[in-house]
């Protein structure tokens, strides 16, 4: 038992408790520095565990309890390369966010840091644990810390966004707890290994299926997948931008990772569940990718736009997972990392706009971005990366996913994901062109922006705002070869829990190298289409409207901002899963 394992959870909690106790008495910058140091230390520790666990999982029994007879009575963390990599990534993202948030939350003293450190501890616990109820505990800590961070601005929209977030995600917790109850009823254990043995023995047991339906609903709510996605855009749009960075960069993908972890550690033995994931899961992923991409394009509030693009990209991740083959999971990890870095940077940049220009409305800011042109370059790079440009981690992931998709004869899914990337990339590029270059005048619309005052404190120099975003983008652009190899190693241990990752899974036949270029080109075209409407023949515009208007009328009511609607959709999603599972069995 290496004593490193409990640290990613225990240290942030301890530091947070210290900050909560002493926050009022410490000099102003101490909480900032302490939080940064903690996040960095956790990154390093997780990275060390990530390399060490390649030769076999690092198991840690809390409280020294393991088993009585054959019955597991304690809680263990079982560190596998996949989970440890996610923990390291979470630490890194928190570190960058603490730099970005330097001095922003002075009004509430150290409370921001306290909640963020709880958040970090929860994410680390969530990805490392090997116990179902413990997974739920960290899931809920994550939620509660996030609830508290959302409503910081106390504006009407922030409060309502936080309300929707809290209600939907509390329901997610209840669903997970219900699922735990059902599986405990059959197995009488909470340790993943015991559960997976039981599931493997009788994969068609309705209790397991019911349990999976509830658990998956819970995690898919957090992962913001169709039809559970509506809370995300409200929440991300109104949360303070440092918090949005964490939400989009790590919290939502980690919610989805909950399904991944549960499937491979517990439910992989059930043929019914495998079938359902392989079909319905794939559809949900593709639907989320396309819906997110389309809605993204219709937004003018920049953070809301980015929020929808998160739905889209997490949808791509779900589609990748639902292919269920090993290379697809490697692609999942790479895509998650690349997306988190890129999206984190983009949220930071929109925070920069909020701080320096005092607005977030794409049309209202038209041309104003010239004052902060370096941010424009970074924005464009982020847009290109989201759009599928053939460079960096996200592209590395996309290629693996595409290859795995065509191997599994799911080329249509890969193509749909390509379209989704092009849509989101196009939307971000359009915003870049409009804000930083002043293109795409929309006469008479400037005044119709969101009326609420949203400015964030501009008490930081521009370079300090820009630096973390640029660093994240550089990381996202990094040559992905080593990480790709690591990801292919990590999936071995992910897919057969408890095993060492001996050799990386082979790379399947790569897709045609022109695909990423098509995606990028498409993104640029979409952006150009919106920016240069006045030069496009009228007949094309009319045709475009004829296609998009019904779609908008169909999709917009789903995101009405009323919590009742969202919950109704959640029940509909649960029904969908339940029906699919009972049909498949």
């Amino acid at each position: 038992m290496t004593p490193l394992v409990p640290l990613p959870v225990a240290v942030p909690i301890t530091v947070a408790a210290f900050l909560l106790a002493s926050g009022h008495f410490l000099p102003r910058r101490v909480p900032d520095l302490l939080a940064m140091a903690t996040a960095l230390a956790m990154t390093v520790i997780s990275a060390v565990m990530a390399t060490r666990s390649v030769s076999g999982p690092l198991t840690y029994w809390f409280g020294g309890w393991s088993t009585i007879g054959a019955q597991v009575v304690g809680i263990r963390f079982q560190v596998d390369p996949f989970g440890a990599a996610l923990a390291a990534f979470a630490g890194l993202l928190f570190f960058a966010t603490f730099i970005f948030a330097w001095g922003v939350f002075e009004k509430i003293g150290a409370l921001f840091h306290v909640l963020m450190l709880f958040f970090l501890a929860a994410i680390d616990g969530f990805v490392l644990t090997h116990d179902l109820f413990n997974l739920f505990v960290w899931f809920e800590v994550m939620s509660v810390a996030a609830f508290s961070l959302t409503a910081y601005r106390l504006e009407a929209s922030a409060l309502e966004g936080a309300m929707n977030f809290t209600v939907t995600n509390s329901l997610a917790s209840f669903c997970v707890l219900g699922g735990i109850g059902l599986i405990y009823l059959r197995v009488g254990a909470l340790d993943f290994s015991a559960l997976s043995q039981a599931v493997a023995a009788d994969g068609g047991d309705p209790l397991f299926l019911g349990s999976f339906a509830l658990l998956a609903t819970g995690f898919l709510i957090k992962g913001a997948m169709v039809p559970f996605q509506a809370w995300l855009s409200d929440t991300h749009a109104v949360a303070p931008s440092p918090v949005s960075v964490i939400f989009s960069g790590i919290m939502v993908p980690v919610g989805l990772f909950g399904v991944v972890r549960l499937y491979f550690s517990v439910f992989a033995g059930s043929g019914v569940i495998t079938t359902v994931l392989n079909t319905l899961g794939l559809w949900i992923g593709v639907a989320s990718a396309l819906l997110g991409g389309f809605m993204c394009l219709t937004q003018r509030h920049l953070k809301r736009l980015l929020a929808f693009s998160t739905i889209s990209h997490v949808g791509v991740m779900l589609a990748a997972f639902a292919i269920l083959s090993a290379p697809a999971q490697a692609g999942f990890l790479l895509y998650l990392l690349g997306h988190g870095l890129t999206k984190g940077a983009l949220f930071m940049l929109s925070g920069l706009l909020l701080a320096t220009l005092g607005g977030i409305d794409e049309i209202g800011l038209r041309g104003l971005g010239r004052q902060v042109w370096p941010a424009g370059i970074a924005f464009a790079v982020g847009g290109l990366l989201l759009g599928g440009a053939p460079v960096g981690l996200m592209d590395e992931g996309t290629r693996l996913i595409d290859a795995a998709a065509s191997q599994a004869h799911r080329d249509w899914a890969a193509l749909a994901c390509l379209l989704a990337s092009a849509l989101t990339g196009g939307a971000v590029l359009r915003a870049t062109g409009r804000i930083f270059l002043g293109w795409g005048k929309v006469a008479g619309e400037e005044e119709r922006g969101p009326s609420e005052q949203e400015q964030e404190d501009a008490n930081r120099p521009l370079w300090l705002l820009l630096l973390p975003a640029v660093v994240l983008l550089c990381l996202a652009l990094a040559e992905g070869g080593t990480i790709q190899r690591y990801a292919r190693l990590a999936v071995v241990a992910l897919m057969s829990p408890g095993q060492a990752a001996h050799a990386p899974v082979p790379v399947p036949k790569p897709p045609h190298p022109i695909l990423p270029w098509i995606s990028t080109l498409l993104a640029l075209l979409i952006a150009a289409f919106d920016l240069f409407r006045d030069r496009i023949p009228h007949s094309i515009l009319v045709t475009n409207d004829r296609i998009t208007t019904p779609l908008r009328h169909l999709l917009e009511p789903m995101h009405s901002g009323r919590v009742g609607d969202y919950v109704a959709w959640i029940v509909a999603g649960l029904a969908m899963l339940a029906i699919a599972l009972s049909v498949a069995s």
């Binding site: 394009l297 219709t298 003018r300 619309e445 119709r448 009326s451 919106d530 475009n544 409207d545």
Partner: protein, 107 residues
């Protein structure tokens, strides 16, 4: 399963529904307390004294108290609200604000 246990389950079903269907918040507070009490009894019958105790202090005391306090402060708040709003157009009618941020035709 004993008759007592079955009866308690049925009572909880009733009180739970009572919470949902008492639409008037002040009446709902009573329903919440009643539901907490019913759950306490059920948990006791399920041989879970610890949980029953927890439910007793939280469900019948702390939570209803918070609800009462919130409702009380909203009532005092309403007074301030109406005072500020004299001639101000009224805040609840903020639906105007919604129409203000009408979408641009971006697609």
């Amino acid at each position: 399963m004993s008759v007592l246990l079955a009866l308690l389950y049925v009572i909880v079903a009733g009180t739970g529904a009572g919470v949902v269907f008492s639409r008037e918040p002040r009446r709902q507070v009573l329903a919440i307390a009643a539901n907490g009490l019913a759950l306490t009894l059920l948990f006791t019958a399920l041989q879970a004294p610890d949980v029953a105790f927890s439910e007793l202090v939280v469900g019948t005391a702390a939570t209803p108290l918070l609800f009462v306090v919130v409702l009380a402060s909203m009532r005092t708040d309403q007074k301030k609200e109406s005072k500020h709003d004299v001639g101000g157009g009224g805040r609840p009618a903020d639906s105007k604000g919604v129409s203000r941020c009408r979408p641009a035709r971006l697609i």
